[in-house]
């Protein structure tokens, strides 16, 4: 009886030792995962944003703007230009809709918002002109 118990214990120790070793290796890997260098999404997006601006892909920019806003209503670090261009494009789009609808309050709000954003755009002012042009000529 005791011999059987000893054999069983020996087998269990061997199995536990193997599991212990595997867990140890996995734990070391988990530290590597925890301390991994995470790419800053804002930094990565900066290049994408620039590329889209260069190709006048404002539709995609506005899509990105709405996607970002699902996480953060106000501008977040690294995405300030996206928020400005997105908000400008939306205001420009809605200004024409309000005009068609005859909503003077909406038109004034959009114009005021566009004016404010334009004053903050700096180097991106020509992009605002391009958006205006696209909206004006649509469809």
């Amino acid at each position: 009886m005791n011999k059987i118990l000893k054999v069983i214990l020996n087998i269990m120790i061997v199995i536990a030792s193997l599991v212990f070793f595997v867990c140890f290796v996995l734990m070391i890997q988990s530290f590597k995962y925890k301390n991994r260098e995470v790419e800053d999404p804002a930094e990565t997006y900066a290049g994408v944003f620039e590329y889209k601006l260069r190709h006048r892909a404002y539709g995609e920019i506005i899509g990105d703007y709405y996607s970002r806003r699902m996480d953060s209503f106000g501008p977040v670090a690294g995405y300030e230009d996206l928020y400005k261009v997105g908000a400008y494009a939306h205001a420009a789009f809605m200004a024409r809709v309000y005009s068609e609808k005859g909503n003077q309050y909406g038109i004034d709000r959009c114009n005021s918002s566009m004016k404010d954003i334009r004053s903050e755009l700096g180097d991106l002012a020509h992009n605002a002109n391009e958006i205006d042009e696209m909206i004006k000529n649509a469809p």
């Binding site: 005791n2 118990l5 000893k6 214990l9 020996n10 269990m12 120790i13 536990a16 030792s17 599991v19 212990f20 867990c23 140890f24 996995l26 734990m27 988990s30 530290f31 995962y33 925890k34 889209k52 190709h55 006048r56 892909a57 404002y58 539709g59 995609e60 920019i61 506005i62 899509g63 709405y66 806003r69 699902m70 996480d71 953060s72 209503f73 494009a89 939306h90 789009f93 809605m94 024409r96 809709v97 309000y98 005009s99 068609e100 609808k101 909503n103 309050y105 909406g106 709000r109 958006i131 696209m134 909206i135 649509a138 469809p139």
Partner: protein, 251 residues
């Protein structure tokens, strides 16, 4: 002790009287008891030593096993903690529950100003779109269903209208049109249900205004008059897509 035979004094442990040599019954009885105890002691000692020899090392092995198992559990806990990324949405959800009343007030203000896109974005950003607290957001339920569809329609229209005109850039217009048509159908399905179910006149006004605004957007950006918009809405999804191809690609 006193010897019963010669009345001579003797020790309790002396087996015979040192004077007359008579037996000491008390000492003899004691001696017999001691012999018995010694035998029992020897038997017990043998039994205990035998058992000890049989289980020798078992305790040590069990201790090793327990230490290994504890080590495994600790490592698994550390591992799971290392792989667990912080749930940022959870913090936002908690904040939304805590400040639901203030957020509901702000949401109402967006609706009042007719800023439906801002309203939906605001709810999404505060994790209030899908699981809003019933007490503060119950009144918005119907307007929220319609606003969600309106948001998707306007968003897709903006994406289509402001798509890149660069011939070298990827053209996703076909996909955008498909998505827009899907959301437009979704909007009118939701709109028809909610406009008859909404009992609050203020919120009903917002629902009707979203329809008016969407029609105005289609008139503006799809070059249609009111009758044309209605005809477009009544088309099947595939026919809507064909019609939009014609309008937006100038075919």
């Amino acid at each position: 002790m006193i010897c019963k035979k010669c009345r001579h004094e003797m020790g309790p442990e002396e087996l015979k009287c040192p004077n007359c040599g008579a037996d000491n019954p008390f000492a003899l009885k004691h001696e017999q008891n001691m012999q018995g105890f010694k035998k029992k002691y020897a038997a017990t000692e043998k039994e205990v030593k035998g058992f000890g020899k049989a289980v020798e090392g078992l305790g040590k092995k069990a201790a090793i096993l327990i230490v290994l198992l504890i080590g495994i559990v600790i490592m698994l806990v550390i591992e799971s903690l290392n792989y667990a990324d912080p749930d940022e949405e959870e913090a936002v959800r908690r904040d939304a529950q805590k400040n639901a009343a203030a957020y509901a007030q702000e949401a109402d203000a967006f609706l009042e100003r007719g800023e439906y896109m801002e309203y939906v974005s605001y709810l999404y950003a505060h994790e209030l779109m899908n699981f809003p607290p019933e007490k503060e957001f119950g009144k918005f339920r119907r307007v929220q269903y319609v606003a969600k569809e309106y948001y998707e329609c306007i968003r897709n229209m903006e994406e289509m209208i402001l798509r890149s005109d660069d011939p070298d850039y990827f053209d996703s217009l076909d996909t955008d049109i498909e998505i827009f048509c899907m959301y437009l159908d979704g909007f009118y399905e939701t709109f028809e249900v909610q406009k008859t179910s909404e009992k609050d006149e203020v919120y009903l006004t917002y629902i009707l205004d979203m329809d008016t605004e969407l029609r105005a957007a289609m008139r503006t950006y799809f070059s249609m008059d009111e009758a044309g918009v209605q005809d477009f809405i009544d088309l099947s999804r595939a026919k809507k897509a064909v019609k939009l191809q014609e309008v937006l690609r100038h075919e």
